[in-house]
């Protein structure tokens, strides 16, 4: 059976070797950058020293994990991660979809191009600059936001030092930065909807609003679900560089996430074993989330990643 499989495969490769050649770089990439480093996961179960290497470092079982979970700052950072990206999912996920729908309704081609360019632009600004812009905008003395607040007769707010504001700021600025670019996927999906569906709907008497609700959205639903599953898989990942730029010790209560926790405690102190343990834990959670989301999606809408 197995032998047959391989001989067929070999015949296929000989016949379509050009196609397999095209596939090769991706396979090699995965092998080198995704599969080979899997061996490094054992670091999580060792008292790791980079000089002694993987072989030379002694096994310590689940000690690293125990140490992590004994640390309530890690637990806090874990929940912060989930809350931050969970909120981000609820609030930020629909925005690119809405944007794409809005772009699709712009009739004037030139206006559409302009609008798209303008909302894509922030994506290409580095996180450092975005953080700078956010800090400037929210400055209690000279920031635009506080100038407005003051003009309305309220006390200025030092946003970036108040834990209760951090999530709003982080998610809000991320939407500003990424929503436009993320809308490209949905625009592509909308472009794939047959125009006769709209013509048919027009003849049938649907308004624009009805066309969005009854045609566009249902037709791009598979795309939306796939994106959602991917997002859910990234729920436990919050990029640390932008957080590090925005957070303050005073906002750790809501801003400290797993990646920043690892950065502060692990990498700065060269605790690769602890950092690996935290990373592995993250990956396991992410896998469970994606698997669950995928199953639910497949059950409900017959759309799934695999």
């Amino acid at each position: 059976m197995m032998k047959r499989y391989f001989s067929t495969l070999w015949a296929d490769i000989r016949r379509d070797w050009q196609l397999y050649l095209l596939l090769a770089p991706m396979l090699i990439w995965f092998a080198v950058f995704a599969y080979r480093p899997l061996a490094g996961l054992q670091i999580a179960f060792k008292d790791y020293s980079i000089f002694r290497g993987l072989e030379g470092s002694p096994w310590v079982g689940f000690d690293n994990f125990r140490e992590l979970f004994a640390n309530d700052l890690f637990i806090r950072s874990f929940w912060n991660t989930i809350i931050l990206s969970g909120l981000g999912l609820f609030v930020a996920f629909p925005v690119p979809i809405i944007l794409a729908l809005m772009f699709n309704e712009i009739q004037n081609a030139a206006a559409k191009r302009w609008a798209q360019t303008i909302v894509y632009l922030p994506h290409f600004i580095s996180a450092v600059i975005v953080a700078g812009i956010v800090i400037t905008f929210l400055s209690p003395s000279t920031g635009v936001v506080n100038l407005v607040i003051r003009a309305l007769g309220f006390e200025p707010i030092y946003f970036l030092t108040q834990p209760e504001w951090f999530r709003t700021i982080f998610i809000g600025s991320n939407i500003w930065k990424e929503a436009g670019f993320e809308s490209i996927v949905y625009l592509a999906a909308i472009a794939g909807v047959s125009p006769t569906l709209y013509e048919s709907a027009r003849v049938d008497g649907a308004s624009r609003w009805q066309m969005i609700w009854r045609i566009t959205l249902p037709c791009i639903l598979p795309t939306i679900l796939i994106m959602l599953i991917i997002r859910i898989g990234n729920l436990v990942e919050v990029g640390f560089e932008y957080i590090i730029l925005l957070y303050q010790p005073s906002t750790y209560a809501t801003a400290d996430v797993v990646s920043t926790f690892i950065y502060r405690t692990g990498l700065q102190g060269t605790q690769y074993d602890i950092a690996t343990a935290a990373g592995l834990f993250n990956a396991v959670i992410a896998f469970v989330l994606v698997y669950t989301a995928n199953r639910i999606s497949r059950r409900l809408s017959s759309t799934s990643l695999w």
């Binding site: 047959s194 006769t196 569906l197 013509e199 048919s200 709907a201 027009r202 003849v203 049938d204 008497g205 649907a206 308004s207 009805q210 009854r214 045609i215 249902p218 037709c219 639903l221």
Partner: protein, 368 residues
């Protein structure tokens, strides 16, 4: 009162004019087929009636009301599209109900209308299926069901059968015809297939290059083509058009076929008045009007047969008459078997058509 009336309708894309001032009147209950080669403007014309394309100039009236500036949904028309335009996420019942749903019809009314349409189209057992789970013919029926439930003043069909295979097409064609007979609704049907046009139409509108070439009943356009375009478009295989010159003989005008080594053929009476001596014409002979068993003394054409295509009861003979290609469609069940050896094709002179070589117009004078 006419149901649909187009007058001087023009469509331009930028500087390119694709429909050059079409005028057409359609009576209530009539089934009109717009037919023509691709790019002739038939679909554009239909879409202008639907309101999916703006009209550059001219007017469109539906039910006595000018609708040139009216939105599609308010024109009281329903349209069936070539690719069915079914909503993939809705099941059959929901697809059929769509037009009523968006018009906020009452639930009960919708349910009843859907059931009725499904009954008519034989879709009752498929109501809960998604389009992806249906065959091509079933999808086409759903698309029609969606139009039917609306009970529109005018049905518009945009090449609805061209995505189906030949057998299914024949079947659906008959179904559409039955449906029309039952509903007696005004319909405009666009196709490039002359068989569909002939079988379905009360009246055929033959279009070419953004203009109407001829309007008439199927038999009218077949028997009395107004010009060489119609003559060669309607009928399969198309009418043979041979270059010829008019000579005035003792018994009246004769057509001498260019390069042919045969006696000139007398032309039917209806064409005589406009035929002038020395006029260059196209002599039209339907392939079906030629016989192989004729005596060379009877009127006919001396020919060379180069290729024989047997079709069963009939055969197509491809040959040359005086270096001009010619096709004859002959019966195979009569005596002659060796078609390749045929040297003389008998012609039924009463079926001849004569067109002016320059303008392509038929020389036939309006029948008295």
């Amino acid at each position: 009162m006419s149901e649909v009336e187009l007058s001087e309708v023009v469509k331009r894309y930028g500087v390119m004019e694709v429909v050059h001032g079409i005028s057409l009147t359609i009576e209530p209950g009539e089934f009109v087929v717009l037919v023509g080669p691709s790019g002739c403007g038939k679909s554009t014309t239909l879409r202008m009636v639907a309101g999916l394309e703006d009209i550059s100039s001219g007017t469109v009236m539906i039910g006595g009301r000018e609708v040139s500036q009216v939105a599609p949904k308010d024109r009281d028309v329903a349209m069936v599209f070539q690719n069915y335009a079914l909503y993939p996420h809705l099941d059959v019942a929901e697809n059929i109900a769509f037009g009523l749903r968006v018009r906020h019809e009452k639930r009960k009314v919708i349910k009843q209308a859907v059931a009725e349409a499904a009954e008519i189209l034989g879709l009752t057992e498929y109501l809960k299926r998604k389009p992806a789970d249906l065959s091509g013919g079933q999808r086409q029926r759903v698309a029609m069901g969606r139009a039917i439930v609306r009970r529109p003043r005018v049905f518009l069909f945009d090449e609805p059968l061209s995505n189906l295979d030949a057998k299914l097409r024949t079947h659906m064609r008959a179904e559409i015809k039955r449906l029309h007979q039952r509903m007696q609704s005004t319909s405009i049907y666009v196709t490039h297939d002359q068989v569909e046009a002939m079988t379905l139409a009360d009246r055929i509108v033959i279009m070419n290059g953004g203009r109407i070439e001829q309007v008439g009943s199927p038999m009218e356009v077949f028997l009395e083509p107004a010009n060489t375009f119609v003559a060669s478009f309607i009928g399969s295989p198309p009418m043979n058009l041979l270059d010829a010159t008019i000579e005035i003989g003792d018994a009246g005008p004769l057509a001498r076929i260019k390069g042919a080594d045969t006696a000139p053929l007398p032309i039917p009476d209806a064409f005589r008045d406009q035929a002038a001596a020395g006029q260059r014409v196209k002599l039209g002979i339907r392939p079906e009007l030629m016989r192989v068993d004729a005596d060379p003394s009877t009127p006919g054409l001396a020919c060379q047969i180069e290729l024989v295509e047997p079709l069963g009861a009939e055969a197509l003979l491809h040959g040359e008459v005086g270096r001009q290609p010619i096709i004859a469609k002959v019966e195979t069940l009569s005596g002659v078997r060796d078609f390749a050896a045929v040297r003389w094709l008998g012609v039924d002179l009463s079926g001849l058509h004569v067109f002016d070589a320059g303008s392509g117009r038929s020389l036939k004078t309006a029948s008295a």
